[in-house]
Amino acid sequence: MELGALLSKLKETAPGAVLQKQPFGRSGGQPVMSVWIETRAILDVAKVLSSGELMGGAGSWALDWLENFSVMQLDEALVASWFLRSTKNTEETLILRGSVVPSALNELVELPSVSGVWPMADPFEREAAELFGIRFTTANHGIRHWSTRLLPEGWRGFPLRKGYIFPTEVFGILHSRPLPSATGASGAGSGGEGSA
């Protein structure tokens, strides 16, 4: 797949969206490419990629399948990765990345929601919204809201962010073992010896 051609076409249709490309991981052979996108423009890029408009109408690799959506925290930024694939041609794959920086530990950040383009994104976004504190906005400036919860009612904080501090007491039960900080120190009792 001519990624270069794709990217140049993307730059035409959504100017300023594409920031950078880099290979993903260390897979041998033909590496999978990941493309950093400006978060504002993610929805436009998503629409273009999923419809296959840029491929000359053949539609052979409309990237219409969002296989995975994962969020991670690198330094201060929350980096979201969209793993895209084509249902017609399973060799085609692309990874989109976008990053946002939360201003404080417990502040929400905003990302555009792509579930209008790829409906399968819904459960992933719900999870990221709750565990990372991301607000997913829809095209007409609405906010996606899910009533389902992974965390109990009244839970404060976003657990999957680094620097999250566990409460010392939950529902009256003491957190008996103080957990190490996020960089995985080897102390903290038997937590570091790998027993399940």
Binding site: F24, G25, R26, S27, V32, D64, W65, L66, E67, N68, S70, V71, M72, Q73, L74, S81, F83, T87, T90, I95, W118, P119, M120, D122, P123, F124, L131, S147, T148, R149, L150, L151, P159, L160, K162, Y164, L179, P180, A182, T183, G184, A185, S186, G191, G192, E193, G194, S195, A196
Partner: protein, 383 residues
């Protein structure tokens, strides 16, 4: 005095508008703790809302708090029924980051474990469907045969379900003496028993009436929700990660992707999903036989992994064909002693998104069968 016993006429009225009924988190129709808010017109479901999150255990955060060495043990607990798949996805991703070459023997052992797990998971599936449909005899037969496979797991690792056997770079130990021979015996047994199941349940008239034409996932909706695995294959999409992106030596194994020809009903109904899994059991038995007969001598691991194991900085995304569908694992390492991020892509997410559409128009009595037929893994969906 009399007022206490007289009911107001309003309350006694037989209402004929839509009723709402909340099922869950624990209910006979549900395979795992989840909640369904149903709106009913008589016995027919008009709309449904799914609520999950009851099994959230903070697994992904746990990875980040412990060393790399303990990650496979936690990945083992991703899905209690398909524990090997979680371990395998994680190990493959980490081996890609750390550029570890897994020895041949270890790869074959991993394939054998994966296929055995697939067999046990599908047998559990058959038992759940039989129980939901009310055929108790079938439940006992299937579980009795599943015990034979679980005995194999116990022989290998000491545990029946969560084997905790895979490590980065191979497996924990070499297979026990006599394990391979017993695998071949179990293969023969299962081949024989599959015919029994067909006689007893698969083509039973009452069962066909309950399952044929019910709960159809149309061919076109599979990609809308991103459904993978046996459910997608029952609706006509032949995507199997073992063929598309072979891993751990699957490229060398000779097998076909089971597909369902709709001889008894429509593509994508409950019966098709049931048949697909029976065929997958047969296919797994075939793979097991090949791998067990051809297993080479060699190392079972590149070396012991101790608490100082640290992969270099990098990330990887691995895909595994689990019994429920495509299981993905995104691993990010920053060179530290604990993982930066381990994220699993559970195949059940797409099914949860599809449930509201699937149960529309279905009768309450079909709801248990339908939900069991989707093979929902709430433990892996909630993590």
């Amino acid at each position: 005095m009399i007022h206490e016993h007289l009911q107001e006429p309003e309350k006694e009225r037989l209402r004929t508008d839509l009723a709402s009924w909340e099922i869950g988190p624990y209910h006979g129709a549900l395979p795992a703790p989840m909640q369904l808010q149903l709106t009913l017109d008589g016995e027919v479901i008009v709309s449904a809302r799914v609520e999950t999150g009851f099994l959230h255990r903070g697994l992904e955060k746990t990875f980040e708090l412990h060393l790399w060495q303990s990650a496979p043990a936690y990945a083992d607990h991703l899905d209690p029924e398909g524990s090997v798949f979680g371990e395998l996805a994680l190990c493959m991703a980490v081996e890609e980051i750390a550029r570890i070459d897994v020895p041949e023997r270890a790869k074959r052992i991993r394939v054998i474990l994966s296929e055995l797990t697939r067999v046990t998971a599908h047998m559990g599936y058959v038992a759940r469907i039989a129980r939901s449909v009310g055929s108790d005899t079938m439940v006992h037969y299937v579980l009795r045969d599943r015990e034979k496979v679980l005995d194999l797991f116990e022989l290998l690792s000491g545990a029946r379900f969560s084997v905790n056997f895979l490590r980065f770079g191979g497996v924990q130990a070499d297979v026990t003496e006599g394990f391979i021979e017993r695998v071949l015996e179990v293969c023969d047994l299962i081949r024989f028993r599959l015919k029994e199941y067909n006689d007893l349940l698969t083509f039973n008239h009452a069962f066909l009436k309950r399952t044929v034409g019910v709960g159809i996932i149309p061919h076109g909706r599979v990609h809308h929700y991103g459904i993978t695995g046996p459910n997608a294959r029952a609706s006509g999409h032949s995507l199997d990660v073992r063929k598309v992106a072979p891993y751990s030596g699957y490229g060398r194994v000779d097998f076909e992707i089971p597909m369902v020809t709709p001889e008894y009903g429509n593509e994508g109904d409950i019966h098709a999903r049931f048949l697909i899994r029976l065929r997958e059991i047969a296919q797994s038995v075939e793979i097991l036989r090949q791998e067990a007969e051809a297993i080479p001598k060699g190392d079972f691991s590149v070396g012991p992994i101790d608490k100082d194991f640290v992969p270099p900085a990098g990330e990887a995304y691995s895909r595994v064909e689990s019994s429920r569908g495509l299981l993905g694992c995104h691993v990010v390492s920053d060179g530290g002693r604990s993982p930066r991020r381990i994220q699993f892509r559970p195949p059940t997410f797409s099914l949860l998104a599809a449930i509201p559409e699937l149960v529309r128009g279905v009768r309450i009595e079909d709801l248990p069968v339908l939900l069991m037929s989707l093979d929902l893994g709430i433990a892996e969906a909630d993590r």
